[in-house]
Structures are given as structure tokens and as C-alpha cells.
């Protein structure tokens, strides 16, 4: 029983084949077999969302999905966000608005926000908080994450973006 099987899925645009036991969780496959170690593991009760990846157009917690369930799936991780060395608007937003500190929740936060902004390009602050409730952060207190997502939303809508944390200029010393 529980013989290994081949599972094929598309990972950040690349066809990927892995050999797994049925019990292997997608997060472990991504990290240990695909060496995409951006998605993290922060709990074993499916609460924290650090393992969030985009899966067939949905945000899923890859710790609560078997890799065998990913047969034929489109999977996107934080490693697939930047294109041609250019940061995605969300990555830029998290940097500009100081939306991370230790960085452990950030890959999951980014991937959840990525799907959220696809579904709702102009969310209110309250909507961002509600629709990102599946992602825990120990460092930021969430305030700057909300600002970061708003920054990215503005940029993706083609509006001018300005960080709410401007660098001090020489004459403000």
C-alpha cells in the first residue's frame, strides 16, 4: 500500500513532475522536492497561512492539500511573482510600506493578496482585513500590510503610488 506515484503539475509556468507518497503534503513537495522554500510552515492546524500558494485560481494552504491532489494543477508560489527581475506590485508595496519584518509570513501574505486583488482590484481597508484573515503575522500588527496591499492595488490600477513611509530628505534632519 501507499506506493509512490508520479504527479505532474505546472509550477510557476514550468511543467513539473514529482514522485510522492500519497500522504505527502503539497508544502513539503514544494519545499523539499521543488526547492521552492518561500512558502513556509507556521502551524499544524491549518490556521497560519504561511504556506499559502495560488492553486487553480484559488488561495490554498498547501499544508492542507496532498500533492497527489495537485495532478494537472496550476500552482504559483512567491518565487513566481517577480517577472524578469521586476518585483510584482505587491512585493514593491510590502517593501515600500514596511509590510514585513521577519519575513516568515510574507510569501503566504503576498500570494493571498495576489488572489485578493485579482478578485477585488479596489478593496477597502476593512475588506483587505476580512479577506486576508487566513494569514497570521507575529511582527507587523497588520497595519502596514493593509497599507502595502493598498499600495499594490493603486499601482495595479495604474494610479500614482507614493509610500506612506517617505525617506527623510537631507533638510528634514
Amino acid at each position: 500500500m501507499s506506493n509512490k506515484t508520479v504527479v505532474s503539475f505546472n509550477l510557476n509556468g514550468k511543467q513539473t513532475d514529482v514522485i510522492v507518497e500519497p500522504r505527502e503534503l503539497l508544502i513539503h513537495t514544494l519545499r523539499e522536492k521543488c526547492l521552492h522554500t518561500g512558502p513556509h510552515i507556521g502551524c499544524e492546524t491549518s490556521h497560519c497561512g504561511a504556506c499559502t500558494v495560488d492553486f487553480n485560481g484559488m488561495s490554498v494552504k498547501s499544508c492542507t492539500l496532498l500533492t497527489v491532489q495537485a495532478e494537472g494543477a496550476e500552482v504559483q508560489t512567491v518565487e513566481g511573482l517577480a517577472q524578469g527581475g521586476e518585483l510584482h506590485a505587491l512585493q514593491e508595496g510590502f517593501m515600500q510600506e514596511h509590510g514585513l519584518q521577519c519575513g516568515f509570513c510574507t510569501p503566504g501574505m503576498l500570494m493571498r493578496a495576489y488572489r485578493l486583488l485579482h478578485e477585488n482590484p479596489s478593496p477597502s481597508d476593512e475588506e483587505i482585513r476580512y479577506w486576508m484573515a487566513g494569514n497570521l503575522c507575529r511582527c507587523t500588527g497588520y497595519q502596514n500590510i493593509v497599507k502595502a496591499v493598498q499600495y499594490a492595488a493603486r499601482k495595479l490600477r495604474g494610479e500614482a503610488v507614493e509610500t506612506s513611509h517617505p525617506l527623510m530628505t537631507a533638510d528634514t534632519h
Binding site: 500500500m1 501507499s2 506506493n3 506515484t5 507518497e21 500519497p22 500522504r23 503534503l25 510552515i41 499544524e44 492546524t45 491549518s46 490556521h47 497561512g49 499559502t52 484559488m58 488561495s59 490554498v60 494552504k61 499544508c63 492542507t64 492539500l65 496532498l66 497527489v68 491532489q69 495532478e71 493571498r112 485578493l116 476580512y130 479577506w131 486576508m132 484573515a133 487566513g134
Partner: protein, 288 residues
């Protein structure tokens, strides 16, 4: 974190799934959204030797209206419930309930049928379905049977589902126009199971209540109807004394277990308070 080894099956049709379930019997578990089962397997509370994944069965998905009923495939996800225009228009109680279940990622995977079949008194859909007078289609080797939500829940993690049966569809009589409804849920934080919650549907006629259903979440070993409170309210205006008595009768039906969410007295009192709030809001939403 690491489940015990098992064999995985991904049937393409419902008969195939049922045949597999019969072949492996008590060794097998049905995998739906996997957001109750896999967490239990990761903690080794559940150790099935075979998982039968229903994820490929498109026939178990979808929300439609037929014959005065709303029919929802058991594998329909919470997120699909939330964004269904049919439910938003004709059965907003499900939408309001689903929005209070877990978090976005879990709602992309967790299904209505799984929430019900799990039989956890902490889950929200059991009480919602009782308040909506729903029934469930259970499919087995020898065909289907239809059971009422009121009868389905036998105990903690125990339901009328027999070995070899799969819940395939949830049927809800389309609520009459003007029906008021509310799901009032007390929880410690987003994504938590209820400390106590109340689901209410009601209709009014000439200033009095003409039909009331009240169901409570997580204040007994199953979801339960507050039947004494319902009977008491029948034909009465929803004034302050009626609310107080309905809350008292709902509390009398409770038998919660003490845990980190609170002791028996607190949960019981909160069930009364949630009943009061759900009644008040449902009444305000009803056509008068």
C-alpha cells in the same frame, strides 16, 4: 503534521466512488475539501488506510433551483456559496453563515457536504440547515435516501450516514419572499468555531410571528433546534418579554461542554444572547 501512510483513490464518477467505499469499508474515508479530515490525519486522530477523493466529481458541484427547492451539490465550496447570486437573492442566511466560517483559504476548499458529514457540533452548517428545514440526499450502493437535517445529527462526529454512503446533495425549500433570517455567531476570533451561535428564520403576519425556526451551534453534542422557544413565539409579537422568554427557553435546551471557549454557564448564557440577537435581526429583515 505527518499523516500515516494510506492509499489514494481519485474516482471519476459517483458509482465508482461508492464502489470503492464499499470495497474498502471501515478502512476508507471520503476526502472532500480535506480541511477537517487532513488536519485530523496530521495529528493522527484519524488513520484511514484508503482515501477516496471526490474532487474529480463535477456532478457533486453546483447550486440550482428545481421544484421549489434550492439544490446544492455536496462538493460545493464555502466560497462558491458566498458568491452565488441565487443564494444571495433567495437564501441569504447561507451566505451570511458561510462568511463567518473559517477563513478565505479554507473556504476555497471546504465544502458544504463535508461540513455537514463531519458531524462536529462546532461546525456552522448543521444549525443553518436546521433553520432552513433542509434535507440531505445520501447515496449508497442500493440507491439514494433523503433525510431531514433535523434527524441527521446523532452525536459528536456521528450522523445518519451509513458505511458506504456519500452525501451528494443538500435540498432547501426556497424561503418564501419576505422571510427574515440571521446567523449570530460569537467567536473568539475570525476563523474560530463558535462559543455559541444561533440561526433563525422567521416570517411575520399582522404583527405577529407566523413561522419561526431557531437552531443553535456548539452548545450541545450536536446542533439542535430550540423547539420550546419556537413554539412559544408562534403567533406572538416579538416584543421584549417575548425575546426574554425565547432566550430563556433556548438556554434550557443547551448542554454545552466546558472548554477553552468557556464554562457551561457562559456558553449557555451566550446561546441565549445569540438567540435574542438573531431573532431581533431576522425580525428587522422580514417583510411586515
Amino acid at each position: 503534521m505527518i499523516p500515516r501512510p494510506f492509499e489514494y483513490h481519485a474516482p471519476k464518477t459517483l458509482p465508482e466512488a461508492i464502489a470503492l467505499l464499499n470495497e474498502y469499508g471501515a478502512e476508507a474515508k471520503v476526502l472532500a475539501g480535506g480541511h477537517s479530515l487532513l488536519p485530523m490525519m496530521k495529528l493522527r486522530f484519524a488513520e484511514p488506510a484508503h482515501l477516496i477523493d471526490l474532487g474529480k466529481l463535477a456532478e457533486l458541484k453546483g447550486i440550482r433551483e428545481a421544484g421549489g427547492e434550492i439544490r446544492i451539490g455536496a462538493m460545493t465550496t464555502e466560497n462558491e456559496l458566498i458568491w452565488s447570486e441565487l443564494l444571495q437573492t433567495h437564501c441569504p442566511l447561507i451566505v451570511e453563515g458561510a462568511r463567518q466560517i473559517s477563513d478565505p483559504q479554507v473556504r476555497y476548499r471546504g465544502t458544504l457536504g463535508g461540513d455537514l458529514s463531519h458531524g462536529d457540533p462546532g461546525n456552522d452548517h448543521p444549525a443553518l440547515m436546521m433553520a432552513l428545514d433542509a434535507s440531505f440526499v445520501l447515496m449508497g450502493e442500493h440507491g439514494e435516501r433523503i433525510v431531514s437535517a433535523d434527524d441527521f445529527f446523532l452525536g459528536t462526529y456521528a450522523t445518519l450516514l451509513e458505511p458506504g454512503e456519500i452525501m451528494t446533495e443538500i435540498r432547501i425549500p426556497t424561503p418564501a419572499a419576505g422571510t427574515g433570517s440571521c446567523y449570530a455567531k460569537l467567536k473568539r476570533k475570525t476563523g474560530d468555531f463558535a462559543t455559541a451561535a444561533a440561526a433563525v428564520t422567521l416570517r411575520t403576519s399582522a404583527g405577529t410571528l407566523s413561522a419561526v425556526r431557531i437552531a443553535l451551534t456548539n452548545v450541545a453534542d450536536t446542533a439542535l433546534r430550540a423547539r420550546d422557544a419556537e413554539q412559544y413565539l408562534q403567533g406572538k409579537p416579538l416584543d421584549e418579554p417575548a425575546l426574554a422568554e425565547a432566550a430563556r427557553l433556548a438556554m434550557a435546551a443547551c448542554a454545552p461542554v466546558a472548554d477553552l471557549r468557556g464554562d457551561i454557564d457562559y456558553k449557555t448564557a451566550m446561546a441565549g444572547e445569540m438567540t435574542r440577537r438573531a431573532l431581533t435581526t431576522a425580525y428587522a429583515r422580514a417583510a411586515h
